[in-house]
């Protein structure tokens, strides 16, 4: 009897945690979506007006569009590069441990610090990259003053920081593959490409899908690098969805609409995750 009771005691912290920090905010923010809320003033019920506002909010559509492009580009490139580097490191080579340790260092950087690092690296008048370009080619790139190049700067930083994560997980997947299959495969074929295409890739695919999924979820939430590097500019060219939501809620205190924006992001990520999981189940049973 006593043992039965004590289990509740041990369960209590996690139940409290989930209720207080997951369920309550979720329900509370859902209720906010139906109100026009301004701190210090009585909330006013507006029904679905906050949801309807999304349809005519060109700023929201703009931030959503650029976020989707960003997610598609960075996640694809990170996974491809991570896979290629993992394949490289899966072979015998000298100094592998050292290179591997160096390669994964960016993962440990705080994203906001990476953004500020970017400010120095991509500084247009005398920053290191432009100084090299000037001395070699007599030209410089408008990294932060041109919408296209500002995106390039963000993409480069993000890819630099998160490719090592993809590499690390995929490498672990590669190293867990049984050697015997390769021994048998080499008896039938000597083409490395053939072996990769027909054995390595299919076997490591579940790991790649998981990496893809994790990066997808994370990339939708991009905030820190953009906030510290470009502030959403030049103009609004890099104002990603999370930055737009942050400004709506915490700068302009429009909590009702910000909650709707938060739910829209949750819905988008949930749909993407569900599609992925469904596909995984279909393929791998």
């Amino acid at each position: 009897m006593r043992r039965k009771r004590i289990k509740y005691f041990f369960l209590f912290p996690s139940i409290f945690w989930v209720l207080a920090f997951t369920i309550f905010p979720l329900v509370y923010s859902l209720s906010l979506t139906f109100f026009r809320v301004r701190l210090g003033k009585p909330a006013r019920f507006v029904g679905l007006a906050n949801f309807a506002r999304i349809l005519s909010d060109y700023k929201m559509w703009h931030s959503l569009r650029i976020t989707l492009v960003y997610v598609a580009v960075t996640v694809t490139l990170q996974v491809i590069l991570g896979l290629l580097i993992a394949l490289l490191f899966h072979q015998e080579m000298r100094g592998k441990s050292l290179f591997r340790a160096l390669l994964i260092l960016p993962i440990f950087c705080t994203p906001v610090a990476v953004g500020y690092l970017g400010l120095t690296v991509f500084y247009e008048e005398g920053g290191p990259i432009n100084s090299i370009l000037m001395s070699l080619f007599g030209t410089k790139i408008p990294w932060l003053s041109n919408p296209f190049w500002a995106w390039m700067a963000i993409l480069l930083l993000d890819i630099w920081q998160w490719t090592p994560f993809c590499f690390l997980v995929i490498l672990a997947g590669l190293q867990s593959l049984p050697e015997e299959i390769y021994d048998a495969a080499y008896l039938d074929s000597s083409s490395e490409w053939e072996i990769f295409r027909k054995i390595t890739f299919p076997m490591v695919q579940p790991v790649i899908v998981i990496v893809l999924l994790l990066r997808l979820i994370e990339s939708f939430k991009i905030f820190d690098v953009v906030y510290s590097l470009t502030g959403g500019g030049p103009g609004t060219s890099t104002e990603v969805y999370s930055l737009f939501t942050y400004r709506t809620g915490l700068k302009f205190f429009d909590f009702g609409y910000a909650s709707v924006l938060g739910y829209l992001l949750l819905a988008m990520v949930s749909v993407a995750v569900n599609i992925f999981f469904r596909r995984i189940r279909e393929v791998y049973g």
Binding site: L39, E125, L144, G231, G232, G235, S237
Partner: protein, 532 residues
């Protein structure tokens, strides 16, 4: 015996008077001392009783550190102030972009974590309308507190520190943008001759209109006029989104779109909204022309300036790479810092140029003046302290703010560029406009000619007959941000001037509707003195 007693009484009386009126010398963190009279510091400090012993107050300020703009003086004088009052001062530094939301969250949720705030004046409408801060008029009359001089402020600055007839903050910073130029370069006879040859006229120093400034800026852009081996620029501006770039536009555009008049009515002396129905004026013809002009002017500066915040643009000017910039008072004092500046002693300053043509909404066309339409401005934060309505120790906060507003501390701040406290009160200016001494400025590192130029330009700006209206209504921050982001779209070539300003107008309408048009209209009319 009787004579001895009388003498004793006289001596005792004189001693008592001397003690009662003893001057008090305070030393700051840099080791510099200022001597105050009892009247200047108030009886709380003079009594030596430290009535605020055991009280700690917390004030917020823009992040800058012990030697940073606006935050610096608080650190500099903290020990001295704590010594005379017995109170403790907790300084909370918050990055510029986060300061407003943090303060508003504290006030709107009723948390009351902070006792006072060093606010930008554009927050005032929100703070007063929500009754989040308290007026200080009663404290100002009370001899217990340090004495400062509200009458020394020009009406343009006084407006920012008051709402209606009530004062909300003692003097601290006076922000306004003036034109800075390279006097040595513009007066160079060879350059002047070449300019005349090219443009067919001799330019004024300083330029009288924006068009004239454009010609000069274009002339000097793209070649090595300072002989440093690199091409230089005509002008430099700080145009990065989220980094106060929109203030450039606000200062520059005034003469293109504000029709001067005897009073503030539907068509005269208005800039932001139609004072009768809150329709945004930001996409009216005058504004579009102003932004088109700014986009043209921008091309006579470095391409990278659209991603530059204050520090980067100022640094470019201080390194002698641009002939012009227009910005706040910080530039004038930073020029004097030879560790950063190559142009000390070469500085020219003036009120911003004007425009011969201004848009008249009543006629629906541009009208031409015989003399340039020139407007002074109070663009910027004019950062100053206010007292939270939630503070349990408002009198302690007021003591701190009034201490920093005393003539002596205020002047000390103004004469040191790093403090971020810019001149505006009469006692900051040189005779015949004010009472400050040129020797004091020179002793604090100013070049005498630079100091004269700088202070005269600020005097002309703040005491100008026409002062551009200042936006300080609820949601002010949101209106400014909308302006900032869409201007940046135009600066970076993503949209045309007209499209950018149409977008601003659309956003402003949306903001006004959300805040309530009638309420906003009422506060707006109050804030610009509509009908006065």
């Amino acid at each position: 015996m009787r004579r001895a007693v009388v003498w004793g009484i006289v001596v005792a009386f004189l001693l008592a008077v001397a003690v009662a009126h003893a001057d008090i010398t305070l030393t700051n963190a840099s080791g510099e001392s200022i001597t105050f009279t009892e009247e200047e510091l108030g009886t709380i400090a003079a009594s030596g009783e430290k009535p605020f012993e055991g009280i700690t107050i917390t004030v917020t300020v823009n992040q800058g550190g012990p030697k940073g703009g606006i935050s610096g003086p608080l650190y500099e004088w903290r020990d001295a102030w704590e010594q005379i009052t017995g109170a403790k001062l907790n300084i909370v530094e918050i990055p510029y972009a986060e300061h407003y939301p943090k303060v508003m969250t504290d006030l709107m949720t009723g948390t009351g974590q902070y006792d006072g705030f060093f606010i930008g004046s554009d927050w005032m409408g929100e703070l007063v309308a929500g009754e989040y801060i308290i007026p200080i008029d009663d404290y100002m009359k009370d001899p217990r507190f340090p004495k400062w001089d509200p009458d020394s402020l020009p009406p343009s600055i006084r407006t920012l520190y008051t709402w209606g007839d009530k004062w909300y903050g003692p003097l601290n910073d006076c922000d306004g943008q003036i034109l800075y130029y390279r006097k040595d370069i513009l007066t160079n006879p060879d350059y002047r001759a070449k300019f005349k040859e090219q443009y067919g006229y001799e330019y004024n120093i300083p330029p009288k209109t924006w068009d004239e400034l454009y010609d000069i800026s274009e002339f000097f852009n793209g070649w090595d006029w300072n002989n440093d081996g690199e091409p230089d620029s005509g002008i430099v501006m700080h145009l990065k989104v989220g980094a106060q770039g929109m203030y450039h536009y606000a200062s520059l555009s005034a003469p293109f779109c504000i029709l001067p008049g005897e009073k503030v009515d539907k068509y005269h002396n208005v800039y932001w909204f139609d004072p009768e129905d809150m329709t945004p004026l930001i996409n009216s013809e005058g504004h579009v022309k102003a932004l088109e002009f700014q986009l043209k002017l921008q091309k006579t500066g470095p391409d990278a300036q659209v991603a530059w915040s204050l520090g980067e643009a100022w640094d470019y000017f201080l390194r002698g790479k641009a002939v012009f910039t227009f910005s706040w008072g910080d530039v004038g004092s930073l020029v004097q810092d030879e560790t950063r500046s190559k142009i000390k002693g070469k500085l020219g300053c003036s009120i911003l140029p004007g425009s011969y043509e201004v848009y008249d909404r009543s006629q629906g066309k541009f009208v031409r003046f015989d003399t340039p339409n020139v407007w002074g401005n109070t663009t910027g934060g004019s950062w100053h302290g206010v007292i939270s309505a939630l503070s349990k120790h408002p009198e302690v906060v007021y003591h701190l703010l009034a201490f920093h507003a005393t003539n002596k501390i205020s002047l000390w701040n103004v004469q040191r560029g790093w403090t971020g406290v810019d001149p505006g009160a009469r006692f900051h200016f040189l005779p015949p406009y004010g009472t400050a001494s040129l020797d004091d400025y020179v002793a604090n590192g100013f070049d005498p000619e630079d100091a004269k130029e700088y202070l005269k330009a600020y005097y002309d700006n703040f005491f100008a007959p026409n002062i551009a209206p200042y936006l300080r209504i609820p949601g002010g921050n949101e209106y400014w941000v909308a302006l900032d982001r869409h201007l940046s779209e135009a600066y970076t070539g993503q949209v045309s001037a007209k499209e950018a300003l149409d977008r601003v107008a659309r956003d402003w309408e949306d903001i006004t509707n959300r805040y309530g048009r009638e309420e906003q209209l009422k506060v707006y009319q109050e804030s610009i003195g509509y009908g006065k």
